[in-house]
């Protein structure tokens, strides 16, 4: 921050580094455990092996579950983001009659204990004949993640300076164009946060999924089950693969951005 003292900056850095360390230290443990030769979760691993990766890739159920989980999380998070984002945008000044009521309604899936939501969604989807179907799963996960999107985007949109939008309006831009060109770019970090919350909310969900998924398997559903929680290191292998995938994706983004920056600056130089 501008002009703040060295002391304040050092304390801030200390807390920041502590926070990052606190967040990542479980991961530092999980990655080596996934290469363990032991059948239980132990650290340090008594020996190294790839058996848990074999277990993951060799088991059709794991692969199936991973595919279902990723597709489900992608579709439902985008649906929740779109519906929730539109709603948050519509709610932003609460000028609409009954807006508070509608907003409260959107938040209810977050406020009701998940197990109750699970039963309610079971009954609701059964009425629509969607029980045990992929569409039913998408609908349920969308509803579950709407509150978080409405909330995160709602705040961001309210913080967003409405005059920017007004300017666009007054210059004759359509609302679609306004949202795309003016509103979204400024909200990008919040949109990203809301999307990742919704994605993970779906990817990690187990209670509702257990009720309504029928024969579909998802990653958490394979991990949790009634008699036995299969805490063998396969789940650490799954986690490690996801971490590796994320790091790779972020690295690619970083490289692409660096390249385009270089390109831009070289153009300017010329």
């Amino acid at each position: 921050m501008i002009g703040s003292s060295i002391w304040a900056r050092n304390i801030l850095a200390a807390v920041g580094i502590f926070g990052l360390g606190f967040l990542t230290i479980p991961l530092v443990i999980i990655v080596p455990m996934s290469f363990s030769s032991a059948t239980a979760l132990t650290f340090p691993p008594p020996g190294l092996s790839l058996r848990w990766y074999d277990a993951f890739f060799g088991d059709g159920r794991w692969m199936d579950a991973m595919r279902t989980s990723i597709v489900l999380a992608l579709i439902s998070s985008i649906a929740a983001l779109t519906l929730g984002g539109l709603a948050a945008y519509g709610l932003r000044r609460r000028a609409v009659a009954g807006a508070s009521l509608a907003e409260g309604n959107f938040m209810v899936p977050l406020f009701v204990p998940t197990i109750i939501t699970a039963v309610a969604l079971y009954l609701g989807l059964a009425k629509m004949g969607l029980l045990g179907s992929f569409l039913g799963l998408v609908v349920a996960h969308t509803i579950l993640n709407v509150p978080i999107c409405v909330m995160v985007l709602g705040v961001a949109i309210r913080e967003f300076d409405p005059r920017l939008e007004q300017v666009a309006w007054s210059l004759g831009a359509s609302w679609l164009l306004t949202i795309r060109r003016v509103v979204l770019p400024s909200l990008a970090p919040s949109v990203f946060a809301a999307w990742i919350f919704a994605f993970i909310g779906s990817f990690d969900e187990v209670i509702v999924t257990s009720f309504i998924a029928g024969a579909y398997e998802t990653v958490p559903k394979v991990m949790f089950n009634k008699l036995i929680l299969e805490v063998d290191p396969t789940i650490t292998a799954v986690a490690t693969l996801l971490i590796a995938f994320t790091v790779l994706a972020l690295a690619i983004v970083a490289v692409v951005r660096a390249q385009s920056d270089k390109l831009k600056s070289s153009v300017i130089m010329q």
Binding site: I2, F106, E159, S170, P189, A193
Partner: protein, 318 residues
């Protein structure tokens, strides 16, 4: 109201920053005062088809969720043998064990939320001030734990913090402690586990809000001679407050629903209401009792939410 909150709150802060400076700082340089004045006089509300944006979600919610949830919550008033009954609510209030579990859940959730805020706010602020590359790495580190199932992270804490775990071994090797510290199977363990889950949920929206704060605004305040602490508390903090409030509320409410992490890391000493409800739905299927408790929980959270909205409304329209 239409003028937006920024300029007004700045006027209040007695920094003497003129509204026009702020406009230029916030809005992109290409749009000047004139345009703003024009739109200010035009009927902003009527242009935006507000309700239309709500309809898709509202339809989905009402059909798939609202009707069955009302049915579920109404079960607390219905007994197959006697018809209408208040007996389930009577049970909750007569034998206060469920209310005490609920109170315990709220208490633990508040503690974990406060700890998350204490770490999360400075963390997000620190990340905002980093260079571009470091910022990217830091944000990646915040997002990474998301990919690891809460269950796996919970087991990682067991490995780390157990009596014979890495942290205790390190502490003893360094000679800092004689006997192993009991990090786990108590409220400390629950707080550590819950905070770890909550922190990214708080940091990302907070960071997003902080990133929206325009540096030129802060520079303007500094150039007018405001000391850093004044800039922070009078300009920066108020601008991030809505996101902080929202994130805190979100964290608190998510906490109330936690089950597996507190059950394992608390060593069963920290009863949570989700656990009790799960038993009432799945083991002794007393749905009436479960729905009475859930309704009470829903009312409590809706109240918290209403208070939050009221605060948010007054701060953002001041």
């Amino acid at each position: 109201m239409l003028a937006g909150s920024r300029s007004d709150s700045l006027k209040d802060s007695s920094l003497g920053v003129s509204p026009s400076t702020v406009h230029q700082a916030v809005a992109s340089p290409s749009c000047g005062e004139g345009a703003l004045l024009v739109t200010r006089s035009s009927g902003y509300h009527f242009i935006v088809p507000g309700f239309g944006f709500l309809i898709p979600l509202l339809l989905l919610m009402v059909v798939v969720f609202d009707a069955p949830i009302v049915y579920m919550l109404a079960l607390a008033f219905w007994d197959k043998a006697q018809g209408f009954t208040l007996g389930y609510y009577g049970d909750v209030f007569e034998a206060p064990v469920y209310l005490r579990v609920l109170a315990n859940t709220v208490r633990i959730s508040v503690v974990a939320t406060i700890v998350s805020v204490i770490i999360g706010y400075p963390l997000a602020h620190w990340i905002r001030g980093l260079g571009r590359r470091a910022k990217m790495v830091a944000l990646a580190l915040v997002v990474l734990p998301f990919w690891v199932s809460v269950l796996v992270r919970t087991y990682a804490w067991i490995v780390l913090l157990g009596n014979d775990g890495l942290v205790n071994r390190a502490l003893q090797w360094l000679g800092l402690v004689q006997a192993p510290v009991s990090f786990l199977y108590n409220e400390l363990g629950v707080t550590i586990g819950m905070t770890n889950v909550l922190l990214p949920l708080l940091v990302l929206p907070l960071y997003a809000a902080m990133a929206r704060v325009d540096d030129r605004l802060l520079q303007a305040a500094a150039s007018l001679g405001a000391p850093p602490s004044t800039i922070f508390w009078k300009v920066y903090f108020p601008l991030t407050l809505p996101s902080l409030a929202a994130g805190t509320l979100l964290a608190l409410i998510l906490c109330l629903g936690f089950y597996i992490t507190p059950a394992i890391l608390g060593g069963g000493r920290v009863p949570m209401i989700s656990n009790v409800l799960d038993t009432l739905i799945n083991v002794y299927p007393n749905w009436g009792q479960a729905s009475a408790i859930s309704t009470i929980l829903l009312v409590v959270t809706l109240l918290i939410f209403a208070i939050y909205r009221r605060i948010d409304q007054t701060t953002s329209t001041k």
